[in-house]
Symmetry: C2
Subunit: 361 residues, 2 copies
DNA sequence: TGAATGAATGACTACGTAGTCATAGGGTGC
DNA sequence: GCACCCTATGACTACGTAGTCATTCATTCA
């Protein structure tokens, strides 16, 4: 009765494709992959019914389903998502294009992954170190016909966006204010965020503030600075801008030296990102300048480390999970007729000891 | 002459599929996807030649290639990686199954992504918070017929490994010592690492050490502890084990309280992971116990933050890039006949101020 | 009881590509 | 001038699935 030989389905060691000889029948060295056709033959139903048993179980009678599942188990059948995608024009994969560096992006990435998993989607990761790579990366993404793309790079040119528009792929820009209005985007309210931090500083009596930015050409930096400067201006306080060069810890550490070289220390330093702020804080400490005592200091992002006792940084907390949820919602519910969405999520100020004066006037 | 209408290729807004009516000809609302067949028609060559022009350019004459590329550009053709994968049985995708929490994993992830990108592979991310999810995740992975899988979970049971072996998918375990010998694995030399740190502590005069582990049931913890305890024993020093509960900062912070409650402080605290160590360090500081002065403290992993001035932690630096490179090499060169590889990469001790006594006897 | 309805299933085909085989020339060696 | 080889190309088909349509059979309603 059992006149076929099942290959590579029993306890064959590791991933080697085991060939077996049975009854004089010589099989190829390649282990044949088990398909829905094999399961159909084993179970006595048609391939169509087997496919339905897996993709639309409600269309198959319980008894049949049971039989098919047993046959599938016996053969070790696993549906082929590639073939499914080709046929159904859906991959259930979302691509994320994110910078390789930076704590913030790493946390965002994990959040995307989690939210997508909840909706039975997978995350295809494309990270880039040099923003010149972005174009190449985007070409790659398009080939995979993913269901959507999360774009977290500030360095996409108009030309690149045009190329993206040629495809039929939903795209959402993540924390990339420059893209707002061009492609659907989700960001934290950067301007309101730094404004809120500025208000807090003014309340602490600050009149002279230096804003330490990562890279001045990023829209993020520009908007955050403007938000701070305007709010400070409204209260008659000054706000200078100092560029650190990047958003990394090291850049912040070095920027601290520049701050210390100023003729007069500012009342407060507002830093454009938390990671950068950690660097500034440590740099200043090394130079004997303490955060709550000699000047106040704020960050931006609300990274977990900001809450660590070693830093306890006043910062603007972005709810990354909430941002990510909006991104995924936009992607997966993408309606062609909808106008270009531009979702701005407010952040909340976290007051740490870097702005908490012992004696407060 | 131009009796067809190209759809969605010009400057159509965003990703909407634009329908156009031309000369009484009504086209469907769905933008038709451009395939190699369309490019063939446009260029005058066959589909086979078009496919070759993209996948094996050397088999096509330069003139033909040029013509085809122009036609492809005109139509906005992008090769379909899904169809290619179905036909070629290669996806050029590697899956990574990693814990959602933990700085260390995030860095590893980024390193995997970078190394894979260099080899024109993509990274499909599967993260899990609860290790109970791992089985479900692994089922998902198998459906995508990825070219390989990086497994960075310590909680894969024998049964799950057996299921994996049914497939023909190369797998490499990453920093999961328990898997060594069962599936190919790559890890840092945990035992030698803690032994080296222990040697360093002994040289600093430590006789009484407490090892703070994350979770005692993980093989990582066990091996690291054993490495430390044996080396300390060889020098007549004692080594107690304290379980923090997880490898997170918070766990470390809480574990510090337990340390402080001991009748007598140890000479040194060895912590099983850097993130955990940051927590211990901050927790002790809060309790008035300073790292180089009241006791020495070491971590493990060599996270970037360990070098930050705020911590300056003595730790065992794992070269994540080097580990990742070994992982990718193993995956992509997977030879069925090779015996199960078990690559152990040495780490290096980084001496920070947490073990640097001002006055050294 | 006959027609209508619905559930369950099978036959067939399209999805878009790449590899196999066959074929047509153009060049080379003798 | 013939046999040979190599390059460039085309026709054809398989990859594994899911959706469309047709068919069968049981059930329901008038």
């Amino acid at each position: 009765m059992n006149d076929y030989v099942v290959i590579g389905c029993s306890s064959s060691p590791r991933w080697c494709a085991i060939s077996r000889k049975a009854g004089g029948l010589t099989l190829s060295d390649e282990a044949r992959r088990v398909t829905s056709v094999d399961v159909a033959a084993e179970s006595g139903f048609s391939q169509a019914t087997v496919a339905r048993a897996f993709s639309s179980p409600h269309l198959v009678s319980p008894a049949t389903r049971e039989t098919i599942e047993q046959a599938a188990d016996k053969l070790g059948y696993i549906p082929n998502a590639i073939a499914r995608s080709l046929k159904s024009q859906r991959t259930d994969i979302v691509a994320a294009v994110v910078p390789a560096q930076g704590e913030y992006w790493q946390h965002a990435l994990i959040s995307f992954g989690r939210q997508l998993a909840e909706r039975d989607k997978q995350l295809l990761l494309f990270s880039f170190s040099d923003s010149a790579d972005v174009a190449r990366v985007i070409d790659s993404v398009q080939q995979y016909r993913v269901d959507g793309m999360i774009l977290a790079s500030a360095n996409v040119t108009q030309v690149q966006l045009a190329r993206l528009n040629r495809g039929a792929m939903p795209i959402v820009a993540f924390n990339q204010p420059a893209a707002s209005g061009i492609i659907p985007s989700v960001s934290v309210d950067n301007a309101a965020g730094t404004a809120a931090l500025a208000t807090h500083l003014v309340e602490q009596g600050c009149r002279k503030v230096t804003f330490v930015g990562g890279r001045s050409e990023t829209s993020t930096d520009q908007i955050r600075y403007r938000g701070a400067a305007q709010e400070l201006g409204r209260h008659g306080a000054a706000c200078a801008y100092l560029e650190a060069g990047s958003f990394s810890y090291d850049s912040g550490y070095k920027a601290a030296a520049h701050l210390a070289e100023l003729d007069e220390l500012p009342d407060a330093v507002m830093v454009s990102g938390d990671e950068l702020a950690f660097g500034v804080l440590d740099g200043l400490r090394t130079l004997g300048i303490s955060a709550p005592d000699d000047l106040l200091l704020t960050g931006f992002d609300g990274l977990p480390q900001a809450s660590w006792a070693g830093y306890d940084l006043t910062t603007l907390v972005q709810s990354i999970d909430s941002l990510a949820e909006h991104v995924i919602d936009l992607l997966l519910s993408a309606q062609p007729e909808t106008e270009i969405a531009d979702i701005v999520v407010p952040g909340t100020v976290r007051v740490g000891k870097t702005t908490r004066r012992l004696s407060n006037g």
